[in-house]
Symmetry: C2
Amino acid sequence: MNKTLSIPTSEHKSFWHRYLPALNWLSTYNRSLFSNDLLAGTIVAIMLVPQGMAYALLAGLPPEVGLYASIVPLVIYGLMGSSRSLAVGPVAMVSLLVASGLAPLAAGDIATFIQLALTLALIVGLIQTLMGILRIGFIVNFLSHPVLSGFTSAAAIIIGFSQLKHLLGISLPSTESFFAQTIAIIERLPQTNGVTASLAISAIAILLFFKYGTVPLLKRMGVGESWILPISKIGPLVAVVFGTTIVWWFELNQYAGVQIVGSVPAGAPSLSMPTADWGTWQLLLPTALAISLVGYMESISVAKSLASKRREKVEPDQELLALGMANLGAAFSGGYPVTGGISRSVVNFTAGARTGMASLITAGFILLTVLFLTPIFFFLPRAILGAIIIVAVVGMIDFQTFIKTWRYNKGDGISLLVTFLAVLTVGVETGILYGAGIAMVFYIWRSSQPHMAIVGRLDNSEIYRNILRHDVQTYPQVLTLRIDESLYFANTRALEEMVLGLIAERPQVKHFVLIGTAINFIDASALETLELLLDELRDSGVEFHLAAIKGPVLDKLETAGFTRHFGEDHIHLTTHDAMRKIGCVD
Amino acid sequence: MNKTLSIPTSEHKSFWHRYLPALNWLSTYNRSLFSNDLLAGTIVAIMLVPQGMAYALLAGLPPEVGLYASIVPLVIYGLMGSSRSLAVGPVAMVSLLVASGLAPLAAGDIATFIQLALTLALIVGLIQTLMGILRIGFIVNFLSHPVLSGFTSAAAIIIGFSQLKHLLGISLPSTESFFAQTIAIIERLPQTNGVTASLAISAIAILLFFKYGTVPLLKRMGVGESWILPISKIGPLVAVVFGTTIVWWFELNQYAGVQIVGSVPAGAPSLSMPTADWGTWQLLLPTALAISLVGYMESISVAKSLASKRREKVEPDQELLALGMANLGAAFSGGYPVTGGISRSVVNFTAGARTGMASLITAGFILLTVLFLTPIFFFLPRAILGAIIIVAVVGMIDFQTFIKTWRYNKGDGISLLVTFLAVLTVGVETGILYGAGIAMVFYIWRSSQPHMAIVGRLDNSEIYRNILRHDVQTYPQVLTLRIDESLYFANTRALEEMVLGLIAERPQVKHFVLIGTAINFIDASALETLELLLDELRDSGVEFHLAAIKGPVLDKLETAGFTRHFGEDHIHLTTHDAMRKIGCVD
């Protein structure tokens, strides 16, 4: 009999149904599902066209790269993803990581930058695919919520400030440090292009109105539910049309110096070849790792949250595989790294996406856009795209979580703060590493001080409880200690010190009983400590007993020959058995 | 009432008695204690003279530096150490770290090397003192036993091979990599100096005879117990006298090319000044950190083991302070980094050292040696010192621990192997970092898959047990899950996946009960996951209950406002209470 409860997975499925989840829904696909998917896919496409271009610019890439990254990857994810409502494509966080990772390497050359972005997508794709195949998605567990929260807030601030130059129409020297950039912006405030700034402010007003104002307004006007969602999501499109029309009509690019997107090449993305050079790969590896993990985190968290709403299940390993393949698709179709975006996925879900078909439909619309609509974007002001980004990220700055975390647990609060400050000062990728490191150190530190309790007998019963919390009976010649954690290298020394300290304080003690009700595991360091402790206690004239050690733990100790060395007669089923054997009770 | 059991410490003592443990024994010091300490101190001095010179050569320093490091540091430790039998001074591991850390920086210049070694002792002293004051000695917990075992074995191999050139009398190009050095030795084997090699083999024979042969022999001869130990420990001294006499008598340094120690300056160590240059300090910091931790580990483990034999207690923080001050002493008296040595401490203890006075006596003898005996060492062959080192370290190569660890637990076995190989290939300090990293990753990986069990009711009792291990009653509309670990960022996702997976598999489930008997702590990430899970379960139409959450954990949840949000009526004292409330039992 299998004695271990394992997380339910899709391992029982056939190879194809497991790795190509689309087969699960394609066989029963029907007109009703399609009409749902069509609406959702269309709305997401409407959001994705301006967002894709904006995020590409944020990453430091030409706008069409953002659109290319929204075609092939979406098709691949639609077929391979285990989530039925995740909307994959360019997102803000990943774009920031691309920008901060590639800018120092490209040295201002846009062709190099594009090539590096392709290569980055390839490496991210390989890493995520490999993680999926090896089933090591668990390593995202190293990133705690406070670390992610600190990272997200700092990244949102960096992203927001990086767009200010577009919104104000000022040009900045390219500089890497966030603070240097902020100072440069403040110094150049007088150079603000009034027309550009007005356009930006109008765009922000439009975006905020659609984001917060439309839903209550349309409800009051009695507009049908099915219309409210699509209308509330076309804000970015309206801002784009508004800005483009005004600039084109008044020729503001010529007469007022408004920066525009300019010519965007028309046509489907062509086959692109990432660089296969080990030196380049090594340089890109840290950024690729950061994108792989951060992208997967963002994606899996929204996918899980949406799946649970319909009592569906996402498979973390399959998600890694699907995202990895989507990134490989991006690498060979002129794109850049992608992942599942939070806001677009929520819209996709709310608009009724029932299967990956919605993703395919979105990809189809984006393809039509790059084939036929690119001339429209010529007069699109960069300030409008900057406004779209700022409105998208401002909500990600999360001060409340900090307050809450700090109040709940100082260690977590410090992790959050260190990550936040490190991302702002040291850099985006290094910052998140610092955070993960600090969180691990805090955890090991805490678990290196496990909770231990001397226990005594409760009211002549067979129950033994903490002497500090209960009125229990103790016996001077016996020390009965319960440790409330598994024994492993970080806490084994605390146990040894506690035991030796207590024994040194109590010369009358002749027996020491270690109670294992909470010990699920004993690692090699702890095993060695137990052996050492056995010798040390023997030297002090104290007999060492073990009580209530769990079955699997005892089996392991037996294999290692410990129980024989320890003395089988000193290992007791329960604490009470131990006390009876010692002769304290009967 | 204090509800937490804390490790007994000396915090109740007065300032001076706490930080100067010598005051505790000085007040009651008497003739009997002194005669014990005198014998122990003398035997240790006899071992220390050749060992100190040998380890200094191993570190890449002139032999007198090893003697200087055996005077002031021993006085300081004797007064400040909380262990009464630890013998401080130059040791093999630390000397290897000094050699590997300084060789690339000194570029072959011996004056620079000595100055760097002083500075290293200063930084090690500051780090250890600071760790003692801040009470952060717990960070050595990051080094697990398997990692230390792998490190020690690899270091012993490196040390052993580094002495081969002295034993064979061949000269080698200075090279950093262990493998390159090994190959160079094999290539130059034909150049072996036969006389040097014969001396070395004779010395090894003498050392092995004294180490393993004398005790049984003297016992059989009926020699008194009190004489056996001193005699068995004079092997190195005999080897030194033997080698020196032969070389001096036959003038082998001139006629046979035997490498000798040469002139060792006479006189007490003078005040030395370490370098106070931030650039140098930064370069030395990694090595200093490694020495601080490895040195402290070696020291504290032997100190604790010896103290427990007399039911005494060592204070880890005071030990750090004492070792730190001893290293500061070394830095200002022409020495190099020191720590408590395992074999000399065991001898000190066995020979009867009762107080720190033994350490002071050893220091006195070493002082007399540098004042009057240095001319004797002129003809001392380096091969003899090499032989002393090899015999000392060969026992440190520990293959058995690897076999045992591998059998007991694969993860620990891999940590050991990775550390061992990394130390040999990548380098001594980097290797130990790799090992510590791997061990942490394995631990987090394991604890990211906590043991969970669905439980059911045992025989109409109030006891709920694992359904896979016991024949229990379950109720289809209720899922009752026990998690056997505290909830923190690394395992919180596993819990979420398990719960959502189980719920998705069981459409009939209307209630989910999480049992907290084993949860000692819930960190901010886990709190967020519980909140998320609450929403997700609500979306799935499942009510979330908590049962048997410990008092302190519940208090924390209350502070964070979680219990209110969760619903006080869904938090139950016991699993049975929860089942009663749900209406399954009465």
